[in-house]
């Protein structure tokens, strides 16, 4: 039984891993002897069906030969067979990760008119992961993104190939074009592939995202920030981007209500990032204070208070102190409503979280102001006690 099992294993391994055998040798010879495109196609069909890496040099030679003789196959029936043959070769060379064929594959992408074949060649370069071509593929996708090609279908196919290739190449240069492909003129299938590939392009896309934030529409700024938060960049890098996004979210002047909401979403996401990644120091403070003062709604203001609390630095604590003192002053002056009560409680919680003594005078002021409700006073007292 064991012997049978072992033999079965050897046979199976041959099938699974594709070692050279007489089948490979025969079809190699048949390709080399093939005359005319039909025979070459038949030989290539058999060769790639072997799933044998050792055929790669022969396949690469075949591809070079077909590239050099492309002009001989101008008749439409020839062109179709030519494209099919080249496509089979490209796919197999990619599957076998045959690095020496990368330049030939790029030549296919440049010189062969059939877009499906071009896309297959580009995807094969991606599978080989030849980074020398990352920039060229990124630029090709960037150009495709700009406007629909004369033949939309052709442009879509090439764009799809570029996106898949850039996903495999994992080079930060691919981030921007794939980002813009997510909302370019393509069909849903291509845009979805771009969205799916985007998180895979670069572990830390921060630099590309900062560029996008600095020059794009609020909608794209928001998606860029979402991409950053979903990335594997370090917390510091994510905070860096959130600070920029929050500042831009305040600086940008919305053209309509929809844009105003998008900008608010951008600011809220930035504030949530501060809380999630525990942003400290002076840099985030101005943006947080602006969000508290000019926020679109209570949610934004509450996020701003929480972010200041998590921050805990002297500038953040000072900002919290000033907010609390102003609330307290207004309360003393008889300006009171439920929203302000809620803000006061949130500010007290944030002050407590800050664990910074700079907030103490404000907490004392609230705790002795009888104009506040019992709940607010109690919260201030608890916070004070916690700080001692």
């Amino acid at each position: 039984m064991k012997r049978i099992a072992a033999i079965a294993l050897v046979l199976a391994l041959g099938a699974v891993l594709g070692f050279a055998d007489e089948t490979t040798e025969i079809y190699k010879v048949l390709y080399q002897q093939a005359e005319g495109l039909s025979q070459k196609y038949a030989a290539v069909l058999n060769l790639v069906g072997l799933n044998d890496k050792s055929t790669a040099p022969v396949l690469a030679s075949a591809l070079d030969e077909l590239l050099a003789t492309q002009k001989n196959y101008q008749a439409s029936v020839d062109q179709e067979l030519y494209s099919q043959t080249v496509r089979l070769l490209c796919k197999a060379l990619g599957d076998y990760k045959y690095e020496a064929s990368a330049s030939s594959l790029w030549a296919v992408a440049q010189d062969v008119a059939d877009p499906l074949t071009g896309a297959e060649a580009i995807m094969a370069i991606g599978k080989i992961r030849d980074l020398d071509y990352a920039e060229r593929i990124a630029l090709k996708l960037r150009d495709l993104n700009l406007q629909p090609t004369a033949d939309r279908d052709a442009g879509e196919k090439l764009a799809y190939g570029c996106i898949v290739a850039l996903d495999k190449l994992k080079d930060a240069r691919g981030f921007s074009p794939v980002f813009f492909a997510t909302d370019a003129w393509y069909s849903q299938r291509v845009r979805q592939q771009a969205s799916q590939s985007l998180p895979n392009i670069a572990d830390d896309p921060t630099d590309a995202i900062k560029t996008i934030l600095g020059s794009e529409t609020p909608d794209r700024q928001l998606r860029a920030l979402m991409a950053e938060t979903a990335s594997k960049a370090t917390s510091d890098r994510k905070i860096e981007v959130a600070i920029l996004a929050l500042n831009l979210g305040h600086l940008n002047v919305p053209h309509d209500k929809a844009e105003a909401k998008t900008l608010a979403d951008l600011r809220k996401l930035a504030l949530r990032s501060f809380i999630a990644y525990k942003a400290t120091g002076a840099d985030p403070v101005d943006g947080c204070s602006s969000s508290y003062s000019n926020g679109i709604d209570d949610e934004e203001r509450l996020f701003a208070l929480a972010a200041l609390g998590v921050n805990g630095s002297d500038p953040a604590a000072s900002a919290l102190r000033d907010i609390l003192l102003k609330l307290n002053e207004d309360q003393s002056a008889g300006v009171t409503d439920e929203t302000r009560n809620r803000m006061a409680k949130a500010a007290i919680d944030a002050a407590s979280s800050s664990k910074n003594k700079l907030v103490k005078p404000a907490l004392v002021a609230v705790s002795i102001n009888e104009k506040w409700s019992g709940g607010v006073i109690a919260a201030a007292q608890v916070a004070l006690k916690a700080m001692q």
Binding site: R3, A6, V10, L13, Q33, G49
Partner: protein, 292 residues
């Protein structure tokens, strides 16, 4: 060229014992009674657990998934119905192979492209004994591209493989020679009967040990060395003609002897890629008779 569904056969479990019958006999010798007892025939159900390959995943050397293949089986988990290849970056299969069977033998294999269109189709014909006698490859339009025919000796061993073009003309032939028990040599010839290469197979302790490739003039081109650990192949080395190592594949196995990982290294020992294999277990029941 055919795909194997599973890679190993393993654990045997005795699941049930049934009483089948018994008999005793007595004999008398020189006034002295001697009692003999015949063995009792009993039956039991034997359950054999067979790992069945359902998924294989290929990785780049840095651990990134390159692609994975999902194997779809019939309800009995014996026949491979479909092999779908997925790229790690795409959600739809990039290629699908669909298999059809007749009398338990694979007769048609159809390859579909990522857009769902047929790329090509391979049809196989068997003789009464179940030996593959011919194959033909058709393109997406159903036109024959090439075909193969096989002949066998009285022992059922393949002796010749001929490749024919679309018009039915022989383009190449391969003959197989056997030693005592095993295939020992393969000779390949072109359309004119000229030898284009030979392969020599050598064995040690009944297992394939070395496979050497020679050019038409008989000069060694390359060879593969098989290394075993017990009964299982542990590595396969590919060497150039001068003996230098070109590449090496190392195999790892599970408890049941099933291949779970294959790692490919280059000549310097750097990992180039790896493939992991996942299985489900099929339980085959059979009844056997035993005596006690």
């Amino acid at each position: 060229m055919k795909q194997s569904i599973y890679l190993s056969i393993c654990t045997v479990v005795i699941a049930m014992t049934t009483f089948a019958g018994c008999a005793t006999a007595g004999a008398s010798t020189a006034g002295k009674a001697v009692a003999t007892t015949q063995k009792v025939a009993k039956q039991r159900t034997v359950v054999t657990k067979v790992p069945v390959l359902v998924k294989e995943t290929s990785f780049y050397s840095d651990g990134l998934v390159d692609q994975y293949i999902v194997y779809k089986l019939d309800d009995a988990k014996k026949l491979l119905l479909e092999k779908a290849t997925y790229d790690g970056s795409r959600s739809d299969p990039v290629e699908r192979l669909v298999f059809e069977y007749k009398d338990g033998r694979e007769t048609v294999e159809t390859v579909y492209e990522s857009d769902g269109k047929v790329r090509n189709r391979r049809e196989s014909v068997y003789d009464d004994k179940g030996a593959l006698v011919s194959e033909r490859v058709l393109d997406s339009k159903g036109a024959i591209q090439s075909s193969s025919s096989y002949t066998y000796d009285a022992k059922g061993r393949k002796t010749e493989w001929r490749v024919l073009d679309a018009s039915g003309s022989v383009k190449a032939s391969t003959s197989y020679a056997y030693g005592k028990d095993s295939l020992s040599g393969i000779e390949m010839k072109d359309v004119g009967g000229k030898v284009t290469g030979t392969i020599k197979l050598e064995y040690a302790a009944g297992k394939l040990d070395k496979r050497s490739y020679f050019d038409p003039d008989g000069a060694l081109q390359k060879y593969e060395a098989y290394v075993y650990s017990g009964e299982l192949l542990s590595s396969l080395e590919s060497h150039r003609a001068d003996g230098s190592l070109e590449a090496k594949i190392v195999y790892e196995y599970g408890d049941s002897g099933q291949l779970v990982k294959a790692s490919e290294y280059d000549a310097s020992g750097a990992l180039r890629s790896s493939t992991s294999y996942e299985y489900i277990v099929r339980e085959d029941s059979s009844t056997e008779t035993y005596y006690e």
